[in-house]
């Protein structure tokens, strides 16, 4: 095992992107993952808003970790998270009214995304600011990546476009179910199937490699 600090911090960052991906591996934060991924742009906006809240609240929690008694830690974390969600909501509104309308109630619901509280409780409250930042950034980007995966599939099949650009011919018949809530479940199921298949294949290959030695 490599234990030099640089490697450890890269590890904190990388783990959220793939190995412990919040959506595909931990299956956390399903509510926004299913609700607002009907287009890539919504998925990116939701992912970045969540990443912002995740990074800011993780850093604040980490810096205040000796100041917060454990009896009131959950209340404090929620207070901090809710604050950054409100801040994010104002910023989104200032950037684009249309985007704010598309994301609707789901911006406010970032508060109850268990991913954020989970990282605050499991990681930020036990680590210094720098690792907490890396962990939050990795998890946030992993979450954004997963939302883009979902949104990409849904927008492509459900509308024939990606980021609003026509991908197939003008006459492509969109599968409307994919941009309805049902499509969220279908594409999430398909992605989980793919991830689990890759995981079990890797395990099988490792086992075969061990046996052959």
């Amino acid at each position: 095992m490599n234990t030099d600090p640089a490697h450890l911090s890269t590890n904190e960052f990388i783990k959220g992107l793939w190995r412990e991906n919040p959506i595909f591996v931990q299956v956390l934060g399903m509510c926004p993952a299913l609700a607002v991924t009907n287009s890539v742009i919504n998925a990116i906006a939701m992912g970045l808003a969540t990443t912002f809240v995740l990074i800011m609240s993780s850093m604040l929690v980490s810096s205040l970790r000796s100041f917060i008694p454990k009896q009131v830690r959950i209340a404090s974390y929620i207070l901090i998270i809710a604050t950054f969600v409100t801040v994010a909501e104002y910023f989104i509104q200032a950037i684009s009214i249309e985007l704010h309308k598309n994301l609707g109630a789901f911006i406010a619901l970032i508060v109850v995304n268990c991913l954020i509280l989970g990282r605050a409780e499991a990681f930020a409250s036990k680590n210094t600011i720098w690792p907490a930042f890396l962990d939050a950034a990795g998890m946030g980007l992993g979450f954004t990546f997963a939302l883009i995966c979902l949104g990409g599939v849904r927008e492509l099949i459900g509308n024939g476009t990606l980021l609003g650009y026509m991908i197939f011919s003008e006459n492509y018949q969109p599968w409307i179910v994919m941009i309805l809530p049902g499509g969220g479940f279908f594409s999430l199921g398909a992605w989980l199937l793919l991830f689990n298949w890759m995981k079990s294949r890797k395990e099988r290959l490792n086992l075969a490699a061990e046996n052959s030695h």
Partner: protein, 341 residues
């Protein structure tokens, strides 16, 4: 050294087996569906024939390949995939592009049946799952109806049938409205006689009430279909409609119109009776059918859609395990659950 020959053979229950096997029942259901399909082809011509062929072929091939992919023995010989394909074809409009029909067949088997573990494990009627996904995906295509008994129906196809895969269909100008659609949006009730003999627009096989009833009776007589399910559904729908029609004849249609229009006959006789997705006990079956009947009336009268049989049956399938749980027969020799509690 060889093992001593066993003199006592140990088997687990059930020890008594019905001589009727799954594939016998399934084969008979296919026989019963054939006259319905034949009449549909007579009504809608080549288009209906192609829809039925494509949906059946898609269902059977999907079943075969998924079995191979799962390293299992192919189960297409038990006829259940044929039934799913035929039933799906019968619920679709005749002029639906054939690539959509094929997608429906694949989805019905893959999502409606294999995802749950194959025959015997599906919680929903696979054909209806396929149709529900098609309906949600292509709401316009699946509600564009083609008139029955056009003179050139055996020589030409509607333009939409042979649409390039994944492309938008181009519709013929001669489309029509279903009797239920006319009732809902224009308050025009069709004549009961026409409905009974199937001379109206609609899905491929949801038109002739008479033939469906005869075929259902054949299966019921051979004890291969639980007659309580269709009878309860008919009774509940007719009863509720009679009450509302009695209160306000202008707003609500007559019971006979409700019974013979749309997919109610086909749904009640061939789909609600899916052996896997319906309850086992008689009280359970009655409750299940009553739930479906009430849902049909509710969706048709107050829902946004003209037809609700498909969603009503899927809903019934979904609550069927709950019904089964709450109406459990007492195991012989034990006290009732209530007494124990």
């Amino acid at each position: 050294m060889s093992l001593p020959k066993k003199t006592l053979e140990i088997r687990t229950s059930p020890h008594l087996k019905s001589p009727i096997q799954t594939d016998t029942i399934m084969r008979n259901v296919v026989y019963a569906l054939l006259p319905v399909a034949a009449f549909a082809v007579y009504l809608f011509g080549l288009a209906a024939l192609l829809v039925l062929l494509v949906s059946t072929l898609a269902a059977v091939l999907t079943e075969h390949f998924l079995c191979i992919l799962n390293h299992r023995e192919s189960t297409i010989r038990d006829w259940s995939a044929v039934i799913t394909g035929l039933l799906l074809g019968l619920t679709l409009p005749p002029a639906l592009p054939l690539w959509m029909v094929a997608c429906g067949g694949i989805i019905a088997i893959a999502l409606g049946k294999f995802m749950f573990g194959g025959l015997g494990y599906n919680s929903f009627n696979p054909a209806l799952v396929g149709r529900a996904v098609l309906q949600a995906s292509f709401p316009v295509a699946i509600t564009t109806w083609y008139p029955a008994m056009t003179p050139d129906r055996f020589s030409s196809l509607p333009a939409s049938s042979l649409t390039m895969p994944f492309m938008k269909p181009v519709w013929d100008t001669v489309t029509t409205a279903t009797p239920l659609g006319q009732m809902k949006f224009e308050h025009i009730a069709a004549e009961t006689g026409n409905l009974f003999f199937g001379m109206s627009g609609g899905s491929v096989g949801e038109t002739s009430a008479l033939i469906i009833l005869i075929c259902g009776a054949y299966l019921a007589a051979r004890n291969m279909l639980n007659w309580r399910i269709p009878v309860t559904i008919f009774a509940v729908v007719a009863g509720l409609t009679a009450i509302f029609h009695g209160i306000s004849p202008e707003t609500y249609p007559t019971p006979q119109f409700m019974l013979f229009s749309g997919g109610l006959m086909l749904g009640a006789v061939f789909m609600a009776t899916d052996m896997v997705a319906s309850p086992l006990t008689t009280p359970g079956v009655i409750v299940y059918s009553a739930v479906i009947g009430v849902m049909i009336v509710v969706i048709r009268f107050w829902g946004g859609l003209p037809e609700g049989v498909m969603y009503a049956i899927l809903f019934g399938n979904a609550v069927s395990p709950l019904i089964e749980r709450s109406i459990q027969p007492r195991v012989y020799g034990t006290t009732s659950r209530r007494a124990k509690a």
